[in-house]
């Protein structure tokens, strides 16, 4: 893919409409990279001019802050804000709800003021504006799909409807889990749990959540977060359903349904 960086735009003396904040998972994790590419392909298709920070992007500091390492968080935040302010960034879209939350809610107090949207919200807006054109009777039409609310998009930021509206636009048969929206159950990755073993317990959180998702009988679990995607994939494997049930990001579903 030919993805331009902010540095390349700056060298031309121009700037893109929006910065695509890829995030660490989206940059390095092989599964999440597929989501990154899917989302970038959507932006390319609709002709929205965007850039990435590329090598200049750093971890937002989310896992550091939430594990209690405020010092490390502040260092990452300082560097990222310096970089983005130097490029005079106005608008950011990101495929990671953890990055979304930090950029939107926590950087303003540190001098980083941007309009931040999560990719599911942007996709929904682009569908509404007719800029994303979906295939008639796309491959997900009528498919039984359940949607997993990530904590940092849902409860943390009250975004519940945009991802569901996208699924509706894809004509899928949306089945809700019992614990959804404000009552959605965490996948188990947040609060830096992604980077450590579980504390002793009776089961793992991602097993509990995957079991609930599988019980809906859906063939696809739609997600909006790279960490949820990993956790749920592991959970589905635990129940040996990986051949029957896929975990797909909203961006992947849309990218596969573009006209």
């Amino acid at each position: 893919m030919n993805i331009k960086s902010m540095a390349a735009f700056a060298a031309e003396g121009s700037s893109p409409e929006i910065l695509f904040w890829v995030g660490c998972a989206g940059s390095f994790d092989q599964r999440a990279q597929r989501v990154t590419k899917a989302f970038a392909s959507i932006l390319e298709k609709v002709g929205l001019s965007f850039a990435i920070l590329g090598k200049e992007e750093m971890c937002t500091g989310d896992p550091a802050r939430r594990s209690g390492n405020e010092f490390l968080f502040q260092m990452m935040a300082y560097n990222n804000i310096q970089t983005m302010n130097a490029y005079n960034i106005k608008r950011i879209v990101t495929t990671c709800p953890h990055c979304f939350n930090v950029l939107k809610n926590e950087y303003p107090a540190l001098g980083g003021n941007y309009e931040v949207v999560h990719h599911t919200t942007l996709i929904q807006e682009l569908i509404n504006d007719g800029r994303i054109q979906l295939k008639e009777g796309g491959s997900f039409k009528g498919k039984r799909i359940t949607y997993h609310d990530s904590c940092y998009l849902g409860r943390a930021n009250n975004v519940y409807e945009a991802p569901r509206a996208v699924l509706e636009a894809l004509d899928v048969e949306l089945v809700e889990m019992k614990r959804c929206r404000t009552n959605g159950l965490c996948c188990g990755a947040g609060g830096a749990q992604m980077f450590k073993e579980d504390e002793p317990g009776t089961t793992r959180i991602n097993f509990e959540r995957s079991e609930e998702a599988l019980a809906t009988g859906a063939s696809i679990i739609a997600s909006n977060c790279p960490f949820c995607t990993t956790m749920l994939s592991d959970g589905v494997k635990k129940f040996e359903q990986e051949d029957n049930v896929q975990i797909m990001d909203i961006a992947e579903l849309v990218a596969a349904s573009l006209k």
């Binding site: 594990s67 405020e70 749990q193």
Partner: protein
Amino acid sequence: MVLVQQVLFLLVSIFAIALFARKISSIRKAIFLGKKESINDRKADRWKQVLFLALGQKKMFKKPIPAILHAFVYVGFILINIEVVEILVDGLCGTERAFKPYLGGLYTVAISFFEILAALVLVGVIAFWIRRNILKLKRFTSPELQGAPLQDANRILYIEIVLMSMLLLMNAADPEANFLISQHLKPLFSNWSESTTHLFMRITWWGHILGIFAFLNYLPYSKHLHIIMAFPNAYYSRLDPQGTVANMPEIQQEVLYMMEPATAPATTDAAPMSFGAKDVTDLSWKHLLDAFSCTECGRCTEQCPANITGKKLSPRKIMMDTRDRAEEISAQMDKQGNITPDGKSLLHNYISVEELRACTTCNACVEACPVGIEPLSIIMQLRRNLIMEESNAPQEWNMMFGNIENNMAPWKLSPDDRDAWTQS
């Protein structure tokens, strides 16, 4: 005889109210053991929280059955207290049913209405007792509720049963009254002489008002304090998106000095500070207000993914521990006049590292709380102390910290490869 009762009533009232006021001022002191934090922005939004969360009980209705039962008790409690005004007037003036002559037929309607409420309170309270003691719902059988907390909960239910029964029996024993529900209790006294019935009526009248005073004074020692604290707590509860973690300006400043040494002052006489919270005195006063507002309903713990999957963490226990510790320090202060180290702290002695480590910061506990308590905010402050004061982190987290610092990502991967996906 009437005069003796009047004087007695006056003395008991003064005593009960003074005792209550003293305890409330000690709770106020306990709450302000916490650090100063200014919360007085967006007043209109805050009053809205009081209106919807506390008064309107918006979040209670996520669970319809307990919400309806709770509404019976709540509405009954508030409206029946109007009748207490008459009881106070009667007690002080030596009258019986002082408002009756002024209201005429309306009086019977009003008292009958209160009787319906009293009956509904009884229904609610008995249902609560059954849910807790017979059905043993999971929410009420967690380890942190064993012993004193269960006794506290039941004691409140028993007091309410006694209060409502006294009210109905008092009305039934009144020969000149015929109210909607209590009239059906009149056969109880059919064989009693007029003077015995009147004596019984006086006894239940005294029983009711003494019960109310006892209830008032038990309240501050109980989880039931939420009937008062829910209101200020809703007012001061968070308006920002729940995902926002409180900033630490002191560390922000340190990092700025490190990155831009020119901005740092030449000398600093700032006292050394500690980061995060080790004890309740390191928390904000709002955290402690949260703790005193908690009625231990367990909606937080029921929603907590860590607790659901058998981990030690229970957000309700975090709140109970915080209150217990604040009360412990406050009692020491009352005895000794100042805070003296007792070798204990909220972190470790009350809340263990294992509990704190299990939190996914998912905000389910915060979302679940009907009165706007934030267990997560306390967990975050304790976690900060563990990491930044004790350097107490699991090995995997230390590796993650190292990776973020050196590779700008939580994994040990080269920062040069951050945009490698564009090439594949």
